[in-house]
């Protein structure tokens, strides 16, 4: 008798016994594995929760996600199984993202300051009052000079509305946060091969060199790339070697952790290049075909960078450098990844460039398992579009940093104080500069408290962060779960477009950013007579998305925005296989990426009317479109000459070394025996400044003792938990010690995301107070058991600007550490504006216009000096 409840599994089992082929290959039998996601049920009632596809935006990795809604509330977030990069999975931060929306301390109506700045006294006002006041201030500023209106964002995923807003007003004073993030990495890469980031093919590689990236905890692109690292390591037996000053989770996961003295990764990479070229292990064909130098030039240039030289600088034994270099060159495919380790130093751009030379000289570019170009997608902007402002802004493009294509925003307070540019109205959006920037309150707090320098500070924010607390007016913005936004991120080898869509109506009186910006413009130009309103002609966020997405070729045929509303992402490359966690096509095989993007051939139509010069450069209508190599017309790389620019001539114009090089940080060379270098880092469950109010993340990590090696601790007479005083040239702090074998003896390290003095009751551990701005209290906060909120280090970190990339040298701070004295209390911090200002003056000396620039570049003796270059202006950036 056949059981009427026969399942597919039983059926397969029965057929297994009768099929010889299947018996010989049992792995071919596919069991009915449980599905990997896409649905969720309430554990108590067992009812299905409503699923809405979104794009995560706790950090900027931009994972495709699903919000599960029950009783009108998002109760669960998970990865979107149809998303090719995310493959259904989210990190700890992404899993906790609903707490941005339901934070009891969220600001749910417009607020106007009534006390002095930062005093914490607020008055609830209506939207109409708020908009009228802001429009009035803008009106006055416009009469003087549109550039006196400034907007600085920390994170901008609006898809262009912030730029549209500023361009509508005619202001070029648009600033970002990239110089405190990874900008020198970007600037190291862009002139070399075009884009500002790489996509290492971790899943298919055999060898990974990781210089200072903590990809398994943070960095671009944590979740999607971590998935591929685990896959490569176990399924593909790859080896991963990490150079870092500290045993991050990435270093701890790696086959080898090689501690390196801060800022010297570039020297190690150059020495590896020396070994590869000396031993003739390079890919000569690739170098000679695809770069602007020859193997002989390169070998000659690399002769100076011996492993013995690098050992003296970095502390990495020459033998280790020789061994790793040979392993890397002789294992194929191999790839490389970097992040803030090499980049966040005075000469971070050089370090980045030196690192990326390794996959270039071994020909691992754009190969399966190699070092690939990013894959992204764009979308059109709604018409009509406002034109670019007439005049550039010195703050946006300081002339001392012409190569810093991602700006030098962390120097803004000093430039404003020096009177370089006048500000009347300052907008801040998803930023928190007094927390996230070097100098912290000693610099940015001082700037914001000065009403002469910043007469009017508008914060568009959902939370009372350190910066918003200093505002004159707060326009309650929506967290990401309530916004419409277009999205694309090169976070895997497959390009995609996605959207964020609101999972429920805005809470309280909050408004999503594009709508509140529109409302400001409508208030400023109610009848359209000022020519501003026409750029803001949309009903709501969804209407705006239609203008982006309904005409993208391919997506249009699939249904445009309606497709994205249903699936969250386009295209959908395949189905998630529950047995492997990989995306498979209709035949059940894993989808394969396209490689060799630079070797895509130009079509006859492309070539019609094109001109090929002696070097093979193909130009058409005045622009370079490709490169002829071995008789074929390729698209090449997106640089001016369509090649990889190992030699960056533009750098030489400003007296910088065009060839890969390394510069020691002068003040690291003269360090005294008792001095250490302080570095900062991110933990897996936090981002820089906006996760302290997320309870599940705060529970896992809420304090940030300073890491130190047992050798260091022994000298200081310190054990874990003891109070120590960490003092730099600009200030000091008192915190607890964490003694661990996982750190270089000359380094102390403090994670950021802790020690908030604003950001709500949970971040500041003031839970006896009540929610102030319209939020509903969360009964679970009565279970908060930790009573240590940590100590934020930024106030003792001076500004350092990479003269090329403009990046903040977070990892360059020299400190003295001592056991705390009798008057030191846990959490004491102090920083001096005067000393921070001195540090600013000092770092400007390294700019191409500064007096130390020539001294640092003896190899550029023939350079004609700053007067020899006509300043060409900045590059924009984002």
């Amino acid at each position: 008798m056949i059981d009427s409840k026969i399942s597919r599994r039983t059926f397969l089992k029965v057929s297994a016994g009768t099929t010889a082929a299947a018996a010989a290959a049992p792995r071919l039998l596919q069991a009915m594995e449980n599905q990997l996601g896409g649905k969720d049920f309430d554990p108590v009632s067992m009812t299905e929760r409503k699923a809405i596809p979104i794009n995560c935006h706790v950090c900027n990795i931009q994972d495709g996600a699903i919000a599960f809604v029950e009783n009108g509330r998002v109760v669960k977030l998970e990865g979107n199984p149809e998303h090719v990069s995310t493959r259904g999975r989210l990190c700890a931060k992404g899993n906790a993202g609903m707490w941005y929306s339901y934070d009891p301390d969220r600001i749910l109506y417009p607020l106007k300051r009534v006390g002095t700045r930062g005093e914490g006294k607020w008055k609830r006002i209506t939207w109409d009052e708020a908009l009228t006041e802001v429009a009035g201030k803008l009106d006055a500023a416009l009469k003087e000079d549109p550039n006196t209106i400034m907007l600085k964002w920390g994170r901008n995923r609006t898809g262009g509305t912030l730029e549209r807003f500023m361009h509508t007003l005619g202001s070029a004073t648009i600033l970002n946060h990239t110089s405190v993030c990874e900008s020198s990495k970007k600037v190291g890469m862009e002139p070399c091969w075009g884009p500002d980031i790489e996509t290492p093919d971790f899943a298919n590689t055999k060898y990974v060199l990781n210089f200072g990236s903590n990809i398994l905890e943070a960095a671009y692109f944590h979740n999607p790339l971590s998935q591929r690292i685990a896959e490569g390591r176990v399924d593909n037996n790859m080896k991963i070697v990490t150079f870092d000053v500290r045993l991050s989770n990435t270093a701890g996961f790696s086959d080898e952790w090689i501690p390196v003295f801060p800022g010297t990764d570039g020297a190690v990479a150059l020495a590896m290049g020396h070994v590869i070229l000396r031993d003739n292990l390079q890919d000569s064909d690739f170098i000679n075909t695809w770069t602007n130098v020859t193997v002989e030039e390169l070998r000659e240039h690399y002769k100076q960078f011996t492993p013995e030289w690098a050992e003296k600088i970095s502390g990495v034994p020459a033998g280790t450098i020789e061994r790793i270099a040979r392993e890397f060159a002789l294992t194929r495919p191999a790839t490389l990844f970097t992040y803030r380790g090499p980049a966040k130093h005075l000469y971070g751009s050089y370090n980045e460039k030196s690192c990326m030379m390794l996959p270039i000289m071994t020909g691992n570019i754009e190969r399966r398992g190699g070092y690939c170009l990013p894959r992204g997608m764009g979308w059109p902007q709604p018409d009509p579009k406002p034109g670019k402002p007439a005049k550039d802004s010195i703050l946006a493009h300081p002339p001392e940093y012409p190569l810093a294509s991602h700006k030098v925003s962390h120097l803004t307070p000093f430039f404003i104080t020096d009177g370089r540019q006048k500000i009347n109205v300052y907008f801040t959006y998803q930023d928190n500069a007094p927390y996230t920037n070097p100098g912290s309150m000693a610099v940015w707090g001082k700037l914001y408290k000065d009403e002469k320098l910043i007469p009017y500070l508008v914060s568009m924010s959902s939370h009372m962060g350190e910066e918003t607390a200093l505002a004159d007016i707060i326009l309650p913005d929506c967290p990401y779960l309530e916004r419409w936004e277009p999205e694309s991120m090169p976070n895997s080898l497959w390009p995609w477009l996605g959207i964020r869509q609101p999972v429920h109506p805005y809470l309280g009186e909050s408004r999503e950013n594009r709508v509140l910006l529109r409302d400001i413009i409508w208030k400023l130009d109610p009848d359209g007579s000022r020519g501003m309103k026409k750029y803001w002609d949309f009903k709501d966020g969804e209407d705006y998305m239609r203008k982006h997405f309904d005409n993208v070729p391919g997506l249009k045929e699939a249904g445009g925005l309606d497709f994205l509303k249903k699936h969250g992402v386009w295209p959908i490359y395949g189905k998630l296989d529950p047995k492997t966690g990989k995306v498979v096509d209709k035949t059940g095989r894993e989808i394969q990426a396209e490689y060799g993007l630079h070797k895509k051939e130009l079509s006859d139509a492309d070539m019609a009317g094109a001109v090929v010069d002696a070097r093979g450069l193909i130009t058409k209508n005045g622009g370079a479109i490709g490169i002829r190599r071995n008789g074929k017309n390729y698209v090449g790389f997106s640089t001016g000459d369509r090649l990889i620019n190992v030699r960056v001539d533009e750098w030489a114009d400003y007296g910088f070394s065009p060839m890969p090089t390394f510069k020691r940080i002068p003040w690291h060379e003269t360090m005294k025996e008792d001095e250490l270098i302080m570095t900062t880092f991110k933990l897996n469950v936090h981002k820089q400044s906006r996760t302290a109010a997320v309870k599940w993340l705060a529970e896992i990590a809420h304090a940030n003792p300073v890491w130190m090696n047992p050798q260091t601790a022994k000298k200081l007479g310190v054990k874990t938990g003891d109070l120590v005083r960490v003092e730099s040239k600009v200030g000091y702090l008192v915190t607890k010690a964490y003694v661990t074998e996982g750190i270089h003896p000359k380094v102390v390290a403090i994670p950021t995301a802790f020690g908030h003095w604003e950001y709500g009751r949970l971040a500041t551990l003031k839970l006896k107070e009540k929610p102030q701005f319209g939020g509903q209290d969360d009964p679970d906060l009565q279970n908060v058991w930790w009573d240590d909120k940590g100590v934020h280090p930024n106030i003792i970190i001076p500004v350092v600007a990479d003269p090329i990339g403009g990046s903040q040298g977070w990892m360059d701070t020299v400190v003295k550490v001592a056991k705390a004295g009798p008057d030191d209390k846990y959490g004491d911090t102090q920083g001096s504006w005067d000393k921070h200002y001195e540090a600013f003056k000092e770092t400007m000396r390294y700019a191409y216009t500064g007096d130390l620039h020539r001294k640092m570049h003896p190899e550029m003796a023939a350079w004609g000096g700053p007067e020899s270059v006509k300043h060409k202006g900045g590059h924009g950036g984002h």
């Binding site: 594995e33 990997l36 554990p43 977030l77 999975r89 398994l216 685990a230 270093a251 679970d780 279970n783």
Partner: protein, 236 residues
């Protein structure tokens, strides 16, 4: 003897026609990202201070020869669960089809006998306050996501596992991924000497974490400080 208790003494592994769900945790793939722990918190509205799953770590070695090991933890859904034997009111029981060890909140009297009997510290008392779920002051634990698994999904922690370190499935099905992994790799279980027959299998688990002590993992001094704060401040 109650029906549940009788059932619980029956092994579910290797029983024809029944499912035996198990989890394989491949520590070679665990990146210690904590996504599992947070996904679990969300799935169950688990209050602060307690966890159904958690990820301790250990740093071993001496500079510069240092390594970090993670060991994701949860209820082992034992085939011979001491908690079921310890419960005086049959609030905790074992489901024979699937092997889930579950808790019936309406029967639980909060005596904590099950918590004391569990060699894995996998059970906890729910505090009085939660965000939206109205189950408090009884013992709770990992359910292997019974509500998801019985509707064709993997548990929430497996769903979000970035490294695909956690794999879930039916051990009684020889063709499942878990059967394959358990067969083809050297696996470990926690505290085998207790005779509990755990159904969470580890690949590559570090001896330092599996061998010693009731907590099964080393707590660095900074975590001790947290533990003291937890004991001092959490009211349950």
């Amino acid at each position: 003897m109650s029906e549940e208790l009788r059932l619980s003494s029956i092994e579910t592994r290797g029983v024809q026609g029944k499912k035996r769900y198990a989890m394989v945790i491949d520590t070679r793939r665990c990146i210690g990202c904590m996504a599992c722990q947070v996904a679990c918190k969300a799935e169950y509205d688990t209050p602060l201070g307690v966890n159904r799953t958690w990820v301790p770590y250990k740093v071993v070695g001496t500079y510069p020869n240092v390594k970090k090991h993670f060991l994701p933890r949860l209820c082992n859904h034992c085939d011979d669960p001491p908690c079921v034997r310890a419960c005086p009111v049959d609030a905790t029981y074992k489901v024979d089809d699937g092997g889930f060890v579950l808790q019936r909140y309406e029967r639980c009297i909060g005596c904590r006998a099950c918590m004391a009997s569990c060699p894995y510290n996998a059970r906890f008392m729910l505090p009085s306050h939660r965000t939206y779920t109205k189950i408090n002051n009884v013992v709770d634990k990992c359910t292997f996501c019974f509500h998801r698994v019985t509707q064709g999904l993997v548990p929430a922690c497996v769903q979000t596992c970035i490294g695909r370190s956690r794999v879930f499935g039916d051990l009684n099905d020889p063709n499942s991924e878990v059967s394959y992994l358990v067969t083809r790799n050297a696996t470990q279980v926690l505290r085998p000497e207790q005779g509990t027959k755990p159904q969470v299998f580890y690949i590559g688990a570090d001896r330092n974490q599996t061998e010693y002590g009731r907590d099964l993992y080393f707590r660095p001094d900074v975590m001790e400080e947290d533990r003291a704060a937890w004991s001092r401040n959490l009211k349950i």
